[in-house]
């Protein structure tokens, strides 16, 4: 089990990963609140990107509607907390279950009806949009007016209810991200990983080799949507407010997938690297604009777009695969 995770990984890669993890562990002790908030954002995007990567990077199913899973999980956990006093650690289970169910319904409809590629992507957007409008009119969670979790000033963190300082959120998120990374590595090095890659590359040939393509696609969707649900629960309890307009929006879906695409679709470290690069880039641009005295709305995003364009044109597989090669960190086989 454990040996499968590190089999074929060069020692240097393990050392570097260990250093990165150590750095992230001590970070809250040395950085200020602002940097910590950015690191939380980085981990949030790294984790969610990893979840999306299972579906697209591994199994080759392009979802542009992952905000759907974030959103319904966020609303589920938040509503259970506000209406029934059910804490997030208990609420996370129904949240995951509902997200997975949504993923499986979409997957079932799409894969049974033979919808793939662009059409599948559009179907995922359509379902997210449909849900967004539905929540706009869902009075139980206050519709388009937004749904709020009570914010109380507490002296001590209360991890059981996910109420507390950013440092607490940071460590929880770090643990989740590390576990997700290991989980994905475990999946990718197992039979299911090979099967997903085969399906991604050539579904017809994969089926000929005895792979039940429908079933493995469904498993990918279930795992991806279930993992994404955790992001939603985290989002609800970290930000304490949910608006259908924001959480289900297409631009949110796109934001979630930029990291893994920039970092490298299908690679394990790509989503993490992508999240770091993108978030850092955004902050640097903000700082520069601020320093230069330009406070024009939109200028940051324009710069963002240009960087994105540059990466996709010049590094088609993302930043990580060429960087990995340069660093000599590729798996030995």
């Amino acid at each position: 089990m454990i040996s499968r995770l590190i089999d074929g990984v060069p020692r240097r890669a393990l050392v570097l990963l260990g250093l990165l993890l150590a750095g992230l562990l001590v970070a809250p002790l040395v950085v200020d609140a602002y940097i910590l908030s950015i690191l939380i954002l980085v981990l949030y995007f790294a984790y969610t990107g990893q979840a999306w990567n299972v579906m697209m990077g591994f199994a080759g199913q392009l979802s542009l509607g992952h905000s759907l899973y974030v959103g319904i999980a966020a609303y589920t956990a938040a509503a259970l907390y506000v209406h029934f006093g059910i804490g997030p650690w208990a609420g996370v289970l129904p949240a995951i279950a509902i997200s997975m169910a949504a993923g499986l319904v979409i997957g079932f409809l799409a894969f049974r009806f033979g919808i793939s590629g662009v059409y599948f992507a559009l179907l995922t957007i359509a379902f997210a949009e449909f849900t967004r409008v539905g929540f706009d009119h869902f009075a139980w969670v206050n519709g388009s007016g937004g749904f709020f979790l009570p914010v109380t000033q507490q002296a001590a963190s209360d991890p059981l209810n996910l109420r507390g300082s950013p440092t607490m959120f940071y460590y929880i998120l770090l643990a989740v991200t590390v576990l997700a990374f290991l989980f994905c590595r475990w999946l990718l090095t197992g039979r299911i990983g090979y099967y997903w890659l085969a399906i991604r590359e050539e579904p017809e040939a994969a089926q000929t080799l005895g792979i039940n393509v429908f079933r493995y696609k469904m498993i990918a969707v279930a795992i991806s949507s279930g993992m994404t649900a955790l992001s939603g629960v985290f989002f609800a309890f970290y930000y304490n407010n949910l608006f259908p307009e924001q959480i289900f929006s297409m631009s949110r879906s796109i934001e979630l997938i930029l990291g893994p695409i920039i970092g490298g679709v299908g690679s394990l470290f790509g989503p993490i690297l992508g999240a770091f690069v993108l978030t850092a880039l955004a902050e640097v641009v903000t700082e520069i604009m601020h320093a230069l005295g330009y406070e024009i709305p939109g200028i940051k995003q324009v710069f963002y777009g240009i960087c994105l364009l540059a990466v996709i044109i010049y590094l088609p597989h993302g930043i990580w695969p060429p960087l990995r090669k340069r660093l000599g960190l590729e798996d030995r086989s």
Binding site: I115, E129, V265, L309, P316
Partner: protein
């Protein structure tokens, strides 16, 4: 509810839908030939809308007149985008193409935001509030005019593809990429031309749209989605399908605004889309792949 009101709203919806159809037609033509989904389609429309707003604000040019130069400019923009950006991406995986155009879309939306700010703008011509009597129904004059022009442009485009040499060459590219290469067509140039034509459509639609709705930079992504919904309902690559899809969406928006909440209007469009994808994925008028 009085029947006349229902019919009036329905007719208004259909007329608006024809302009939607023209916008979506651009997307359909581009996908049908180049096989790339233009994720910046709505954003390009918004650029055209702002062009019309500026022309009206600065020189008092009617959007229906400004439409012509705007379509030409959008043609150039589309041609340049295809030639410079998209052609090298033709054989890249779909998600690469998507991210490329998503990046373009982000730049466009926020570029407009930088220039024009987030406030809604509209064009108020002297006939904006006029109505036309059609039998017992009273409909907005601008909707009748814009719908007629949308139909005329579609007809012209249809004739271009059916009759002109270039139009036939483009269709050949769409039907058989390899074959087109073999007989010596300059496929890349034809692709750029097609992207230009699709962009000109959305440019004309964007100029007209200023007479019908308020424009903000953020409606770009909304209309991108709208255009997808329309072309998939009608059938990707089918020109009459785009018009039919536009009309259906215009109608469903108008009806849901009348019978339910106006904010629920996109839900019906998306619901139709999901049903079409599941039961007739090639679209209502699309050919089976």
């Amino acid at each position: 509810m009085p029947t006349e009101l229902v019919f009036t709203v329905a007719l208004q919806g259909i007329l608006t839908g024809l302009v939607y159809g023209l916008m979506a037609l651009g997307l359909s033509v581009i996908f049908g030939v180049v096989r790339v989904v233009n994720f910046a389609h709505g954003e390009m429309m918004t650029i055209a809308s702002y062009g019309a707003i500026v022309a009206f604000g600065a020189w008092n040019i009617d959007p229906l007149v400004a439409m012509v130069p705007i379509a030409v400019i959008l043609f150039a923009l589309g041609y340049a985008m295809q030639a410079a950006l998209i052609n090298p991406f033709i054989n890249r995986p779909e998600h690469s193409q998507f991210i490329l155009l998503a990046a373009v879309a982000i730049i466009m939306v926020n570029g407009l935001l930088m220039i024009f700010g987030p406030d809604a703008r509209s064009v108020l011509v002297d006939y904006s509030l006029d109505s036309i009597e059609i039998g017992p129904l009273l409909v907005d004059k601008v909707r009748v005019i814009t719908a007629t022009m949308a139909l005329a442009i579609t007809a012209a485009l249809f004739a271009f593809f059916k009759l002109s040499h270039t139009g036939k060459a483009i269709r050949a590219c769409a039907d058989n990429h390899l074959g087109a290469l073999v007989i010596g067509l300059n496929v890349k140039q034809l692709y750029a031309l097609t992207f230009g034509i699709g962009s000109a459509c959305v440019g004309a639609a964007g100029a007209m749209m200023t007479l019908l709705i308020d424009t903000t930079p953020n409606i770009g992504p909304v209309f991108t989605l709208q255009a997808f919904v329309i072309v998939i309902i009608g059938g990707l690559g089918s020109m009459p399908g785009a018009l039919l899809g536009g009309v259906l969406i215009g109608l469903s928006e108008a009806m849901s605004g009348l019978f339910f909440a106006p904010s629920a209007k996109t839900m019906f469009g998306v619901a139709i889309l999901i049903l079409v994808l599941l039961f007739r994925p090639q679209g209502l008028l699309g050919r089976k792949a």
